[in-house]
Amino acid sequence: MPTTTDPKPPRESGAPSPPRLAIVGVLVALVLLVGGAAMLLTGHGRDGPTVGGPFTLVNGDGKTVTDRDFRGKFVLVYFGYTFCPDVCPTTLNEVADAMDKLGPAAARVQPVFITVDPRRDTPPVVKQYTAAFTPKLVGLTGTQEQIAQVAKEYRVYYAEHRTGPGPNDYSMDHSSVLYLMGPDGTFIEPIRADGTAADIATALQKAVS
């Protein structure tokens, strides 16, 4: 019955052996991972909705906000959390300064902060936090599920890291990237979150002009 020279015992035809299945699985995962990273880095997201997507969240006033509310504007999305005293304010300050540098073109850009820590970041907390950078910055929060959904769409990684036994003794590990979305909601390109205001303004200027 077996016509191959395979020394292994014959098995049902058509079904790959478990090790082969595992290898195929790893290869598929690798292709997806590399492809995803390449698309993110080269900005090929223009060709399809690779980053971003529909979301329903809540703003600082407790009002429901969806991705559709931002249509017609370039949207600069940053994921962070208000208990982040170091990296998030550094980036958001540069974004605020970049908006100032843009001049009249700033009217076409909407910076948005989305928390990855909805447990602590209630609407009033988010409102107080974003207001400190620029009144133009919209802060959004939501349920754990809503945040998980939008983070997944934006390929954002986030995880709680316990630092002690208390309820507030944790920090959030999170992707720190600025996502530039077009007026139609499609992904244009990622912008380095550790860049200067001038770097961010240059990238925004290029996109809106």
Binding site: T82, F83, C84, P85, D86, V87, P89, T90, N93, V125, Q128, Y129, A132, Y157, H161, T163, N168, S171, D173, H174, S175, S176, V177, A193, D194
Partner: protein, 152 residues
């Protein structure tokens, strides 16, 4: 008459205490530790704040092991690290300083985290901070609240 003398007593006491306080802060300098460009970010009451500074050591090697500030309910030493595009923040036990090896607390690196601000910190405000060193003990400094790092 005793009550009339009280204000004089307070003034005399203040003048006597002033040099003592001056000597105490000078004592910190004797440890060889100098704090440069301490600054804090603006922050809202109830939220978190941050203090950055540089410690120059011209004496013996030492270690920053903690900090205190009356503007926060808790103060911790933290370090931010970056892995790819993922930022992480972790509490640290301490950070070394030695002659020729300044301890630099700056954005995206070591920082003093002010947890639970008791007051809103606005640009131009001053935040008292006590740095706790393993050998030198307490060193006082005043951080200025500003949005951007001070010019180098």
């Amino acid at each position: 008459m005793r009550n009339r003398l009280l204000p004089f007593a307070i003034v005399i006491a203040a003048f006597t205490a002033a040099p003592v306080i001056a000597v105490m802060s000078a004592h910190a300098a004797d440890t060889g530790l100098t704090v440069q460009q301490p600054w804090a970010r603006p922050g809202a009451e109830g939220q978190v704040g941050v203090v950055y500074l540089t410690v120059i050591d011209t004496g013996a090697p030492d270690r920053l092991v903690g900090a205190r500030s009356p503007v926060a309910t808790d103060v911790q030493l933290h370090e931010s690290t970056k892995e790819g595009t993922v930022m992480k923040m972790r509490p640290i036990e301490g950070a070394a300083v030695a002659p020729g090896q300044p301890l630099v607390l700056k954005p995206g690196s070591y920082h003093i985290m002010l947890m639970g601000l008791k007051q809103t910190l606005k640009e131009g405000d001053t935040v008292p901070v006590t740095l706790l060193f393993e050998k030198a003990g307490a060193v006082e400094t005043q951080a200025t609240v500003r949005r951007e790092p001070p010019p180098q």
